[in-house]
Structures are given as structure tokens and as C-alpha cells.
Amino acid sequence: MSNKNGEMSTVTELNGQPLLQIKDLHVWYELKRFGFGHAGYVRAVDGVSFDLKQGEAIACVGESGCGKSSLMKTILGLNRPTKGDVIFDTTALSQTKGEDLRMYRAKIGYVQQDPFGALPPFMSVERILEEPMIINGITDKQERRRRIEKILEEVKLTPVAEVLPKFPHMLSGGQQQRVVIARAMIMEPRLLVADEPVSMLDASVRVEILRLLRKLQESHNLAVIYITHDLSTVRYFSEYIFVMYAGEIIEFARMEDLLNDPKHPYTLALLDASSDPNADNALVMREVPKGEPPSLVNPPTGCRFNPRCAQMIPGVCDVNEPPPFSVSNEHRVACWLFENHADHAD
């Protein structure tokens, strides 16, 4: 924290600086042998960098085990960066501890994946929403009540008086997720991390929740990190998108550019494997890269996708790790196929 009274610096102070900067972030977990001997590291996040401006949404796409949850937990301040840094506002996470770290966490909202698992079953909606404010020192009861009512109206859980005494099991999946969103928003954060917020919900409610998030993002000028494995929902949500594979960002672009003109063979495979409802799907086999994502303890040398890639160039892809090549404005691909298409972007 730069200033002692815990006030967040205003947007103008940022001078067009990104709200969130991820700088060469590494998150490694140590493996222990029999509880103490060192047995290597799980390199869950391995050199990830990106910026996020106030009011922008970025989607993070990847399969399970690609490091997206570790990245998210680090941004939330639940993991410590092994190397590199997360700079939120003006706070550098690696330098923050104790009370400051708690303040840091309070400024970032978190929408969990499974709403039922994320809500304590023995607390009423009112208590669930009040708790973060009590913890963060909002002592005025009237003020707490006012904020709860305001946020419930924003997430369209009305009539408010009827919802407040309810327990999570009395709400439908969509309503539970609204409570989770309300809880994430109650401290008026500037950054919201949404971890697969709709994957546990029915198709008919998904769109509703995504629109709600989008609306909140616009009305509060929020920065949002939307983590998902479902490419078909990102179109409705984010400005930017990046694809992670085995702990690294392999492609970064504006959302339309990535969906309409994907470059990396892995991104292509992901897009190809996602289906739209169409009866013709039953007649064709999908192209799926062979094998499974690599172990993060001993990732392959060179490009981490090379053992599964159909366009692997022997002697290049399996030797040197590809740096991000810039293929067009704001579109970067970490793949040797694009070495000559672009000037070297760092």
C-alpha cells in the first residue's frame, strides 16, 4: 500500500497506467520427497506477462492443469509469486504482507466456479453479504444494510426483503451464482476475477449470468479476468483473450482476432474441438491433437506443445522455446511457425 489510510488511488492518478500488471510471473510449487527432501518443482505458471486496464475484460482460456487457477490465485493474493510480480494499482504483490496483503485482497472480487460450494450452507444471504464488510471494518450497520440492498438490486435478486433471510439451498443455481457475484461486488472492487462463473449452470441461465457480469463491468467500470475453458462464451464477454498451455501464454489477441484468425496450432485445435449445435457434427470426426498435456514438473524442451503438434518443425520446435512473435497489432503468438511473419516482439 502506498498511502497509509487504505484509500485506493483514483483512476486519474494512474495516468493511463494499466490497473493490473503481470510481469514475468512464475508460480512454482515445490515437490517434497517423503515430506522433506526436495524433488523438483511443479511449474504451474512459468513466465506469464500481461496488462489489464481499468474497465477492460480479459478472458483466460486453457485446459485443466494449464496453470490458469494458479495464475488466478496469485492475482488474488492467495499464492506468492515465485519470481516476477503482480502489480495491482500501485501495490506490488511480492512486497506486500500482513495487514497490507489483507487490504490488497479486499480490493479484488472473486466469483467462484461452483456457487453451491462457495456459499456457506448455514448462513443466510444477508449474513453472507454482510460478512466481508464486517471483516473489512465497515462498522455502520445502516451503511452495511444500504450496500446489501443496493447490490442485490443490481444483481436482480428482488424483492430484496424476501431474499435476505433465505439460505443458499433455498435458491436455484442461477440465484446462488447471483449471491456469489453480489458478495464479490460488495466491497466495490475495481478488479473482478471470475473463475468459470457459468460452467456449473444450465444453458438457459448461463447467458443471463454472463450478461449480468457484463453489465456490472460496464456500470462500475470494472476490470474483469474471465477464466474459462469454454470458448463459445468468451465472445459475449471480453475485449482481450489469451490462451494458456502448460503454464505459458501461447497466444494473446483481441477477442475477434483470436476467434476469427487463430494462429497457434493449439488454439486452432481448441476452436476446432468446440462444437455448435448442428446435426452434421454427428457425421464428421473432429481433429484432436494426440496425447495429453505435459507434466509441469518436466515440461518438454522447446515449445511445450511440440510433442502433440502436427506442424512441429524438427530441430527447431523441440530445441528452443519460441518467444512471442507479433503477427499483427496486439496479436502475439509463441510459435516458431510465425518467426518470419513478424518482427520480433519482446
Binding site: 468446440s274 446435426a279 454427428a282
Partner: protein
């Protein structure tokens, strides 16, 4: 449906109610559908519409609080509802109709090797010796794409996709007529999902098995579907050929459901369905979708009949009467 097709499974007026403290839950309420040989019928619907209860009702896997359970389930020309529990267990369940329950991949036994787990149903239900059963397990594992050297591994050594394949191999090892798949890919990654779907498509060609696929994921369901049945509040509201259902669903609910699917390759804005599905404790009289239906009219207060549309589609809606 095409009259010339051989029908493997014919379900008629199937009902499964549960007795709860709050009253009687009408989870499956008068379901009719046909499953042609070597085809896949997908059953789609929101959570709580009775999809999984339907699967359990077909296999007679009833929880203790099951109440009313009647109707007809014809497997070829045998009405399985007329069989007593022991005969059903010995001759039908797993031998002729098997099931991959939801999250089966997490239900594998952690202390039994994969090969033995796949062989077990063959030993129990087909009276095979251990050697014979292991041989058919190996054959089935090749079919579903589990490497043979995994035979001696344990479940925790396998990735999610491989465990799901193992669960599928277990359900197929007895070469049943019908396999019920309850959300087979919903917990898996996109690429794994696609390769499991590829495998199921191949199985449909290679084996003489028919599939019932239960899912809420409409996009993925289209990967395997020959026929589609849409379930809403315990009833099937529309059933028909997939090639004609996906471009033009008939029932207003099917329509709304299809419109709610986010598309990757099209730019249409998805629409959500307002309101919530009715409670199955006291379902509304008349059409159960009427309160959420944009095309509701006076007739909807009466129970709509299931009408034939064209020759091969059925829809339970007054609009088509």
C-alpha cells in the same frame, strides 16, 4: 421415425414418482420414446427436469423413496417391467442395458487395477472365466482407446479422459444392446471431450450398440445425436430426427433452449429463458411450460396432446394441433 428401422428399446408411458416429506415428486411423468438399433438418442433438458431419473427408471435403479413406478419398457419384444427383480438383475441390467452414470470416472475403485475392473462385469454377468473376461476387457479397452499397458494400473494413475474411457469400457464389455450415458463428457476439457465423442461415434459404427445420451450440453449432444428428445418438467415435450431438430426445433421450449446456446461460429446474441422450471411437487396443470412460454394462449391451460408433425417428429404443444 422411420418405420423400417428396427426398434431396440421402446418406452411407453413411463412414470417414476418419489415420495418425499414435501409430497410426491413427479420426476418422470408419462415418457414415450423409441430407440432405433445402432442409433443414438440424446435426451436434453435443464437440471431437475428428470433426465437422470429417466435413466434410472429404465434400468430400475430406484432409490428407497421411489413411489409410483409403472409404464412399459420394451427391449425388442420383451416388456422388462413384467420381470421380477431377480430376473431383471440377472438378464437385463448390464447384460443388455448398461449405464455410465454421471461422474463415473471418479467412481472407479481406487484399489483394483483397471484391467480387473473392466473384466469384472463380464465375469459377473456373462459367467466368463477370469481369462476370458480379461481377453474381452483387453478388446474393449482397445476399442475405447485405453492403451493395453494400462491394464495393470490403478485409477489414480490415469488422467480424467482415460478414466472416462475406462468407465465406458466397463459398460461396453458385456456387449449390451443399449448403453445409457449420463453426462459422459461434462467434467472434461474441450479436447478430451472431442476425442471421447470421436470414440463414441466410432463405437457406434464398430459395435451394434444403441446409445441413450443424457446431457444438458446441447452443442456436444449434436456430436452423437441421431434423434433428439427434449425433456421439460418430467415430460418429453419434443422428440424427432436430429437432422431436422437442430435447424428447426418445434416446441417453444426447444426453441428457447436452442436460442440460449452461445455460438462460436455465429454472431447471434443468445437469449435466456425467463423464469424457472416448475416444481415437480405440484406441477402446473395443462402445459408445464406455459408460464414461461412466449406463445401462450387460452388452450395452454389444458394438457396438450402429443401430436405427430410431418411423419417422424412428435411435439407436445397446442400450437401444432
Amino acid at each position: 421415425m422411420d418405420r423400417s428401422k428396427e426398434i431396440v428399446l421402446k418406452v411407453r408411458d413411463l412414470r417414476l414418482y418419489f415420495n418425499t416429506r414435501g409430497g410426491v415428486v413427479q420426476a418422470v411423468d408419462g415418457v414415450d420414446f423409441d430407440l432405433p438399433k445402432n442409433e443414438a438418442t440424446v435426451i436434453i433438458g435443464e437440471s431437475g427436469c428428470g433426465k437422470s431419473s429417466l435413466a434410472k427408471a429404465i434400468l430400475r435403479l430406484l432409490p428407497r423413496n421411489a413411489g409410483r413406478y409403472d409404464g412399459e419398457i420394451w427391449l425388442h419384444d420383451l416388456n422388462t417391467m413384467s420381470l421380477d427383480e431377480e430376473t431383471f438383475r440377472k438378464t437385463i441390467r448390464w447384460k443388455r442395458i448398461s449405464m455410465v452414470p454421471q461422474a463415473a470416472m471418479n467412481a472407479l475403485n481406487p484399489v483394483i487395477k483397471i484391467g480387473d475392473q473392466v473384466a469384472e462385469p463380464a465375469m459377473v454377468h456373462m459367467d466368463m472365466s477370469r481369462d476370458e473376461a480379461t481377453r474381452s476387457a483387453v478388446r474393449m479397452m482397445q476399442h475405447v482407446g485405453v492403451p493395453i499397458d494400462f491394464l495393470h494400473r490403478y485409477a489414480f494413475e490415469l488422467s480424467g479422459g482415460m478414466r472416462q474411457r475406462t468407465a465406458l469400457a466397463m459398460s461396453l464389455v458385456t456387449l449390451p444392446d443399449v448403453v445409457i450415458l449420463d453426462e459422459p463428457t461434462s467434467a472434461l476439457d474441450v479436447l478430451t471431450q472431442a476425442s471421447i465423442m470421436n470414440m463414441l461415434k466410432r463405437m457406434k459404427h464398430e459395435l451394434e450398440t444403441s446409445f441413450i445420451l443424457i446431457t444438458h450440453d446441447i452443442a456436444t449432444s449434436s456430436e452423437l445425436a441421431d434423434n433428439v428428445a427434449v425433456m421439460y418438467a418430467g415430460q418429453i415435450v419434443e422428440v424427432g430426427d436430429a437432422r431436422r431438430f437442430f435447424p428447426k426445433p418445434l416446441h417453444p421450449y426447444s426453441h428457447a433452449l436452442m436460442a440460449s446456446v452461445p455460438r462460436l461460429r455465429e454472431t447471434v446474441e443468445p437469449e435466456f429463458i425467463t423464469g424457472q422450471p416448475p416444481s415437480l411437487l405440484n406441477p402446473p396443470t395443462g402445459c408445464r411450460f406455459k408460464d414461461r412460454c412466449p406463445q401462450r394462449f387460452a388452450k395452454c391451460d389444458e394438457d396438450p396432446p402429443t401430436v405427430l408433425y410431418d411423419v417422424d417428429r412428435k411435439v407436445k404443444c397446442w400450437l401444432y394441433v
